[in-house]
Symmetry: C2
């Protein structure tokens, strides 16, 4: 015993360069030293990682701390220890703490960046990751799924971390419930800043997932509290609660394109959260309910105008006797003491009903079971502009009891005044985006079963003495500064970016100058082309945000002499190109724009304005596993190309697609032989609600002559399609488009001459995804 103590002390003495002179702190500079330190660490020890880049390190932090004396691994200076390359962190044991690390410029070699276990048997308990950042730590390929934080074991905490930029498949954070060692886990996910997660295009883009349908019977008891969710746009679910007894409290959902969804599992508490929209973007959602026993109380919704799945309160229809992985009926749910300000049709019931599709879907897919034994009470709605449809019943809400709800709808008739009583009251501004009803006089407060447990309001004020309906009690209320980002995430990191005006970099036709100046430009800069002809023999890689435009009104001309099948502009990860007022000419065999066929570890983007594009094999070719949030062609002429805009490689039918918004506005397509616009999403999944195509004010002539399937504009599986105000002339195809009537597909005011027709099929047959 004494001997081993001596050796240990010696070891710590020898390796310790720390300023601290105590024997319990050791500083390490490389993975070998770290491993050695971990293997000797005892309760109360601190292991300090030297500042600098730690590349290709797989840290296995195994130890046994105690409640009073945890074992800690921490950065020498928080934020100055960079975990890069092919790296990850696994933690197992008890009372372990990790502090101050920065994961960037790399990806995990396993399924997790941070895992609270080292193998199936060995999990972490009572352990904590704090004050860390994970940024853009994406796999090379979008379809290679991983998780950035995965919880196992019990009583673990992730707090004060900043996590953002995940573009590949897989939730950002998941709690795993497999095995008794991970149930009743009481994990805490608190005070974090979940920064922007770009739209992923399809499923598997949740920010937080609590379990899965296969563990949906497990008691999880996970708390997600006081976090800031900013632009978490990965998919339709920001938080997907799939287990029981989870608590989602006092979080801020700020301009996040998704909802908090009780997807599986039961008895979630969603209490005191802020859902902040802008009254414009319909993708910002609220709370979507499936299953049993949830309590939705004290929440505040501001300018959330999402519809249907994304409405502020979306109560879904279930499938009778639903399969485990589908939709259980909503029962025994309470929605009480919430406040809705300037939302649109905030309460929607029977969401997801698809009784009309019973001919094309199996019986086990038909959501016909309406909510039962559900109470909606003591809620307040305020609309600056009256809303004619405050409640939308996609299917009847006849199993829902409405009690003591009021609305100021500015006198506009809104339907059932038994369910919501029209009332006059004003708002008080408390802080940015926070406007609360000022109620005077007496209002009935409904006392349902268990309502006595709702003891506090949105701000934590007691409801004991001065209770009121709505998210807050009445009286003087203080601004809680929910948008103050310093309250969330790592204390050494801010995602607030100072706006710097772009550099305008002039370029002449001198050989090589354009390529060089694009390479050396900073992200956001503008390349200004002097008039003339630019001959390029090789592709130009775009790996940042860049604008290329003609300096004069006349279009500069870029003539591409590169090899067949190569692109003029090669869009790399992060490459967002805006090209304006330029003429692009090929030799008929190349591509004007394309992205990388492999290793597109981050999204690209493209906006083409007022350009002429001639004589290419492809105008745009996007490969599988690549994604752009937006692709826009505007005021542009596309002539004599073999293929047009080709975004159809996501053919594995798992709901993925290549671009979220494809816009074609005021363009002219002539002599484009095939794939004029080819935009595809495959696989039926009612909760993938993307793909957005707008084709408007454009003309198409003599196009589609080689189109094998006989359809000019291919939009199969895309959920939102608007084809309007276009002219189609002399296109030798059977159909201009085949639209999906049951989804948000529409067409209007198109002039079609000698070009087939636009056909609408109500229910497209799609492959089920699950």
């Amino acid at each position: 015993m004494k001997k081993s103590l001596l050796i240990l002390s010696l070891f710590f003495l020898l390796l310790s360069w720390s300023k601290k002179t105590d024997l319990t702190t050791i500083k390490v500079s490389n993975i070998d030293e770290l491993n050695e330190a971990i293997s000797h660490a005892k309760a109360g020890h601190h292991i300090v990682l030297a500042n600098g880049i730690w590349k290709d390190v797989q840290i296995k932090f195994i130890g046994e701390g105690t409640e009073d004396k945890p074992i800690t691994i921490e950065a020498e200076t928080p934020g100055k220890v960079f975990i890069e390359g092919v790296s990850n962190l696994e933690i197992a044991g008890n009372y372990l703490i990790v502090k101050g690390l920065y994961f960037r410029n790399g990806y995990t070699p396993t399924k997790n960046v941070i895992a609270f276990r080292t193998n199936e048997e060995k999990v972490a308990n009572y352990s904590r990751v704090t004050n860390c950042v994970i940024l853009d730590y994406n796999q090379q390929q979008r379809d290679k799924d991983d998780l950035w934080v995965q919880f196992y074991g019990t009583h673990n905490t992730l707090d004060h971390c900043y996590i953002a930029g995940k573009t590949n498949g897989g939730p950002t954070l998941r709690v795993d419930l497999k095995g008794n060692q991970s149930i009743r886990n009481y994990h805490q996910i608190v005070n974090n800043h979940f920064g922007p997660r770009p739209r992923k295009g399809g499923a598997r883009g949740e920010t937080i997932q609590l379990g899965s349908s296969f563990t949906s019977m497990s008691p999880s008891n996970t708390t997600i509290a006081n976090n800031f969710f900013e632009e978490c746009n990965g998919e339709v679910e920001i938080i997907s609660s799939k287990t029981n007894f989870n608590e989602i409290r006092n979080n801020v959902f700020y301009k996040s394109e998704g909802s908090v969804v009780t997807r599986h599992g039961n008895y979630a508490i969603i209490d005191g959260n802020y859902f902040i929209g802008d009254g414009v973007n319909k993708n910002y959602g609220g709370i979507r309910l499936v299953n049993t026993g949830h309590w939705v109380i004290n929440n505040y919704f501001y300018k959330i105008i999402g519809e249907n799945f994304r409405s502020p309160l979306a109560v879904m229809n279930g499938i009778p006797k639903s399969p485990l992985n589908r939709y259980n009926q909503v029962t025994d749910v309470v929605v009480a003491y919430n406040t809705y300000v300037d939302c649109k049709s905030p309460w929607q019931f029977g969401v997801g009903t698809n009784i009309e599709q019973k001919d094309v879907l199996p019986e086990s897919e038909i959501r016909s079971a309406r909510a039962l034994r559900t109470v909606v009470a003591n809620n307040v709605i305020y609309n600056k502009i009256g809303d004619k449809n405050v409640i939308i019943e996609h299917d009847k809400a006849d199993g829902v009891k409405f009690k003591s709800n009021i609305i100021n709808n500015q006198g506009v008739t809104f339907g059932d005044t038994d369910r919501i009583k029209a009332t006059e009251f004003e708002l008080t501004k408390i802080g940015e985006h926070i406007y609360l009803p000022k109620l005077t006089g007496e209002f009935d407060i409904y006392q349902g079963f268990g309502f006595e447990t709702i003891t506090k309001d949105l701000f934590g004020n007691s409801r004991a003495n001065k209770n009121a309906i709505g998210a807050t009690v009445q009286g003087e209320l203080k601004d809680t500064n929910i948008l103050d980002k310093t309250k969330y995430g790592a204390d050494w990191y801010s995602n607030v970016v100072e706006t710097i005006p772009p550099n305008v970099i002039e370029v002449t036709t001198t050989k090589g100058e354009l390529e060089t100046k694009i390479t050396t430009a900073k992200s956001g800069d503008i390349i200004s082309l002097n008039p003339g002809k630019y001959y390029l023999s090789k592709s130009i890689a775009i790996d940042k945000t860049i604008t290329i435009q003609s300096k004069e009104n006349d279009k500069a001309e870029i003539i591409f002499t590169g090899a067949g099948n190569t692109p003029l502009f090669e869009l790399n990860p992060y490459g967002i190109l805006h090209i304006k007022n330029v003429s692009l000419t090929g030799n008929g065999k190349q591509k004007a724009f394309s992205n990388l066929k492999e290793n597109m570890s981050n999204h690209f983007g493209l906006t083409v304005t007022s350009c002429d594009i001639n004589n290419f094999n492809y105008v745009l070719k996007a490969y599988k596993q690549t994604f752009a949030q937006e692709i826009t062609f505007k005021d542009t002429a596309i002539t004599n190309c073999e293929n047009g805009i080709e975004l159809s490689e996501e053919t594995n039918d798992k709901g993925d697609y290549n671009v979220e918004f494809l816009t074609v506005e005021n363009c002219k397509f002539s002599n484009v032989n095939q794939n004029v616009i080819d935009y595809y999403r495959g696989g039926y999944d009612e909760s993938t609600i993307g793909g957005n195509l707008l084709v408007t004010n454009s003309s198409f002539s003599n196009c589609g002559s080689k189109e094998e399937n006989g359809i000019l504009l291919n939009t199969r599986g895309i959920v939102n399609v608007d084809i309007s105000n276009n002219t189609f002339k002399n296109n030798p195809v059977k159909l201009v488009a085949l639209l999906w009537g049951a989804k948000n597909n529409s067409h209007a005011n198109n002039q079609i001459t000698n070009s087939g027709q636009i056909k609408v099929e109500q229910n497209l047959k799609m492959k089920l995804m699950y």
Copy 2:
């Protein structure tokens, strides 16, 4: 305030005939007085029901007691207040107690005999029914389902009650979980005696059901402890746990034909129960597991030889992504510290696998998902006679971890010695049916996740210091007298019946004597017929257990001259007839035996031994909604009848059937034109495992000439069929029988001449029941 107090006091004074002189006790003699008393009752009050028969009373006990001062309704003398006729009891409010009532000779006009609510809104909490009896309180028709005790609300108790004799549809007791007012209910079902519940014949015969599949996501937290289950034979499930977190502790399952089943819901604790069989009856079961997270610990199994669904431990296969009402996969289950003595193949896995039936069943019915993450550890098995198949894998148990299990198999090879270690040890007799392993030396004790929470053994002894594998620690153990019935149920009631030798009542052929003497006989008596001819012109009703036999060796002759379509013997509720060595002759138009077409509120039974039956339209005709546990024909000749044994009216295809055991042994059938034997069960339900037909050593000649379906012995849907050692000669039918190969249907050693054949169809197509 003062005034109302005065009136109340006056009221209690005026009505009070109680010996107690305090103002809080009031005695009532009829329903009006009771209603009045209830309406005025305050916390602490006692309402005493006068002894006697209370007929056709619907008691609504609504009140607000307190923890210290409950409101009580009690019998003047426990057991001397008889609730009869069309009566029931409903309780709503808080802290209410009901004591000492006896429900008999009647049935409820509602769905419940005792309900812990008065309407959907108003439930009982913290209320108790104690020291009561419900006996044979059956609806008039078997298909009219009801519940004898239905729990709603929370924290209610049923204790020290005796409940027995339910023959109609519906569980004896159910806990209802619909609505937040009934979840996390912590109900206590303790110290009761659940007496014999006869086989029901089909589903809906559970003794206790906790919730339903539609509330299977709800936390129930119901405790069933220290109860005595005696001959609870209603169906294959004695206790059907269908919700979460239920605890089943220290109960005795004594010769009960069924199992404790975690049918839906998860995380049940089944701890310290006794399963006592006899080594003969294969219908006595153990614990059957479906779903997630159950802990099966400290249980004792003695001479349980049930197979498959009824095996001591039956771990089922689930349906992948199972529908809500079907079978979820078993995951995260712990089976530890149990002891099995003289059981047969006690551990069975993959129970219910039906992969082979995938051609006749829909995909959503195929149980192919094997148990996952399940631990079987620290168990002890003792077999006096070695068992070659200790573990049966209907499907692979490859997701199950076996640790530290031992067996004394008397040296007989039993398969996988890694899973169970062969060991020598002896048993110590502790009490009746209780034999415990005497382990000497060191045995590894596996410490799985959470095992430290198993702190006590079967008897409640601490495992802290002298822990051992198996249900008990080692050392001196006291007999806990589990079979001492005075420990369970109402203190004033015993179901122990003194055996009285039957009276033998001689009868002569004098007109009217036979009828009279049968009418006046006591249940169990023997009617002894002097030789001669007995002419009967009207049916004889049998409403008790009675034996009719010839006094001499020569058969007495009963000649029935009654009207067409009437039976010679009319089997009424409770009518169990044994007729021996008698000749019965009809005129070709009547029935020899039949039961009531309506109001068969209890079962019948029939044993015919060494009789001659001639010239009836029907030998036996059973009507819909009637049931016999056993019907036996032995050493009997059946000649010149239009129809034979007709038990085929349960055609609603809900799994019901008319008799549990039909035995035909050493009989001669000749010239029976149709329905020679017609025994039917309809509807596919894997958990209905009855219908038992044995036809052996019998002969059939010149039968079936008018059989429309061309099958001599109709057995469709019957699960257990054995046709062996019979002779079939000159029966003009296409098939002797059509057997169901996938079930327990067999035939052997039959001599078939000019009578078609016996055909076996592996998978009969059946109508799904759900």
